[in-house]
């Protein structure tokens, strides 16, 4: 399960580092991804694979709609975090309530196309979970390839390093913000889509977007491997903690872990010093 948090925090990190948006409404995109899979499977009788892909594309398009309407005008202002957090909350209210009105409060199950189990070294793993793990790893690898090797990926990293300097090199910073937003939202939708068969779908799923922020803080802001590590840690702590001490206590333990890490490494586990701040802001 941690890997799904990894996947989401990769998306959140992308939006945060490249576009400098603290995207509070991220969890809602996760929920929308899950709901579109449910909708496609129940009403359109689409095969699971197609539904997942369509869900990712749909959330990506939604992100592409949101960015120019909501965030573009805030993008080049001085204290953009101040305003884009608020805009994100507005978006969250709209999407959350819209989902509530359309889908209601009932929780829904999504049938999974995989049912068998595998045994690996004496450990029994349900097939559907294995599929989720493989999908998550594959997408993370693809994302890494995109960011490291392709031209738009490199441009995106340049923008996240410094949008001004990147602009001087002929990179269209605004378009890069847009693309990172689309990819980030698509990742959130994809995570929701592949999680839907495992945990069912309901409107409170959006709250997990907040956990993603914690994962990003733990792993290091703007650090992809940090986000992945943090996501796995969160998944492990929540599932083991649920078993041994209870859900609430497990979350508090995770918070305590974050604080201990922040005492010794203010930049997060794998974050780099001086990253993730704005010029003229503290800690630079």
């Amino acid at each position: 399960m941690g890997l799904v948090y990894s996947l989401m925090s990769a998306g959140f990190n992308l939006v945060l580092a490249a576009a400098n948006i603290i995207f509070i409404a991220f969890g809602q995109f996760y929920m929308i991804g899950a709901f579109s899979v449910w909708y496609l499977e129940t009403y359109a009788h689409a095969p699971y694979w197609a539904a997942v892909i369509v869900a990712a594309i749909a959330t990506g398009i939604l992100g592409a709609i949101c960015y120019p309407i909501v965030f573009r005008r805030l993008q080049f202002t001085k204290q953009q975090f101040l305003t884009n957090i608020i805009a994100g909350v507005g978006l969250m209210l709209i999407l959350g309530q819209a989902a509530l009105l359309i889908f209601g409060t009932t929780s829904r199950g999504v049938p999974s196309p995989f049912s068998g189990t595998y045994e690996i070294g004496g450990v029994r793993i349900p097939q559907e979970r294995l599929v989720v793990i493989i999908l998550a790893v594959a997408v993370l690898l693809a994302l890494n390839f995109f960011l490291q090797k392709t031209r738009p990926g490199r441009a995106m990293r340049a923008v996240s390093f410094s949008s001004d300097v990147a602009s001087l090199q002929g990179v269209n910073a605004d378009r890069m913000f847009m693309i990172s937003m689309v990819i980030g939202c698509a990742l959130a939708g994809f995570s929701g889509a592949i999680m839907a068969p495992l945990f069912g779908v309901d409107v409170t799923m959006g709250a997990s977007g907040l956990l993603v922020m914690l994962v990003v803080t733990l792993g290091g802001i703007g650090s992809m491997p940090g986000g992945i590590l943090g996501g796995i840690l969160l998944g492990l702590m929540l599932s083991f903690g649920q078993y041994y001490v209870g859900g609430g206590e497990a979350q508090i333990l995770f918070f305590a872990l974050i604080f201990v890490v922040l005492i010794f490494r203010p930049q997060g586990l794998l974050g780099q010093k001086g990253q993730g701040g704005l010029p003229g802001q503290p800690g630079q």
């Binding site: 909350v89 508090i252 922040l262 802001q281 503290p282 630079q284």
Partner: protein
């Protein structure tokens, strides 16, 4: 506006606030006034942090700490309820110093997200441990003891107006402390830090220490409101103090205009407290309409209502705060802060002489 006019307006507003509960018999409207004032005070604490360059989203958490401290004292100990006021403040300040020591070490962005983390932890802690009565919450907090006035008369805290006056007194005290701080050396050091941390360091202002101070003071101020909220509502539930409350506090401040440390939060809180009430007409669509309005407001006028009204002419208070709401496309991000600081420093010297 000269400072004399401002004082006149402030005193007029105060007189109006004193008179209104006497003129209006509706408890509902007095209740809305209480909520507005409480929200506005928290937004003022938020603006205080912002002046020092801290975007602090943990304030509702410290509000909750103050309220829960009061609730615990009132229900589980024999101490007088009034004693909870100083104790709440001390507890909140102590917690904020510990948290601040950790959070302020990272970058600006990690402070924002770190404070958001705090905002999530606090209600979770209250809800999880039986010591705090879990998600049921603390019930039956008695109002503060009556203040004897001699010859049998006393101020009793029972009706809505009496609580409004209690809040008004606390608020005025907190506002005067804020004003004194803003005018002191520390307040000017905060402003310098907000303008340019690098330049502030060259004149021997320690960002870490001064930001810790602003974090502690604003947390203490919201703890005062926590005390009030505990005795006013007499029931405390963890969900009241969740992270959304913190973000709403930020909205009150931004909507009114962050360049205006007192008037901005008051106006913003008034609009955003009354708006959802007014929007109950649209029923289930209320969050959607509110969300859309929030986006429209913040996108079209990031400088806030007062910022829009005063335009660029707001010379006093903090001119740089007006500059925060710069139009898109204008040069941004610190490239001209140096010039601005110089200009502002000179302007301040001028007014001082």
């Amino acid at each position: 506006m000269s400072s004399r006019v401002k004082w006149a307006i402030a005193i007029l507003l105060f007189a109006l606030a004193v008179a209104l509960p006497q003129l209006i018999s509706s408890a509902y409207i007095v209740r809305l006034m209480i909520l507005t004032l409480m929200n506005a005070m928290m937004a003022m604490a938020f603006v205080m942090g912002l002046r020092a360059g801290l975007l602090n989203i943990s304030l509702a958490g410290f509000w909750g700490i103050g309220a829960y401290t009061t609730g615990m004292i009132a229900t589980k100990t024999d101490l007088p309820v009034w004693s909870a006021l100083p104790i709440s403040v001390v507890v909140a300040v102590a917690v904020s110093i510990i948290v601040g020591l950790i959070l302020l070490r990272g970058s600006a962005l990690s402070f924002i997200i770190g404070s958001l983390v705090v905002a999530f932890i606090v209600p979770l802690v209250f809800g999880t441990f039986d010591f705090f009565e879990g998600y049921v919450g603390i019930i039956g907090i008695s109002p503060p003891e009556a203040i004897p006035l001699g010859s049998g008369a006393a101020i009793r805290f029972a009706s809505e107006p009496s609580f409004f006056y209690l809040l008004l007194a606390l608020s005025v005290a907190v506002m005067l402390v804020f004003l004194a701080l803003y005018r002191s050396w520390a307040g000017r050091a905060w402003l310098a830090l907000g303008l340019s941390p690098d330049l502030a360091q060259t004149v021997a202002i320690n960002p870490y220490r001064y930001r810790l101070a602003v974090f502690a003071v604003s947390s203490g101020a919201v703890a005062v409101l926590g005390f009030f909220f505990a005795v006013y509502s007499s029931v405390l539930q963890p969900s009241v103090f969740d992270a959304f409350k913190s973000i709403y506090i930020q909205m009150y401040a931004v909507l009114g205009g962050i360049a205006f440390p007192f008037a901005g939060p008051l106006l913003g809180a008034a609009v955003l407290t009354i708006l959802p009430e007014a929007l109950r007409l649209v029923g289930d669509f209320e969050p959607i309409v509110t969300g859309a309005l929030i986006i429209v407001i913040v996108v079209l006028m990031p400088q806030g209502i007062l910022g829009l009204l005063s335009g660029r002419r707001a010379k006093d208070m903090t001119e740089f705060m007006v500059a925060l709401g710069r139009k898109p496309g204008a040069p941004a991000r610190g490239d001209e802060t140096a010039a601005e600081v110089d200009g502002e420093a000179e302007a301040q010297d001028e007014t001082r002489r």
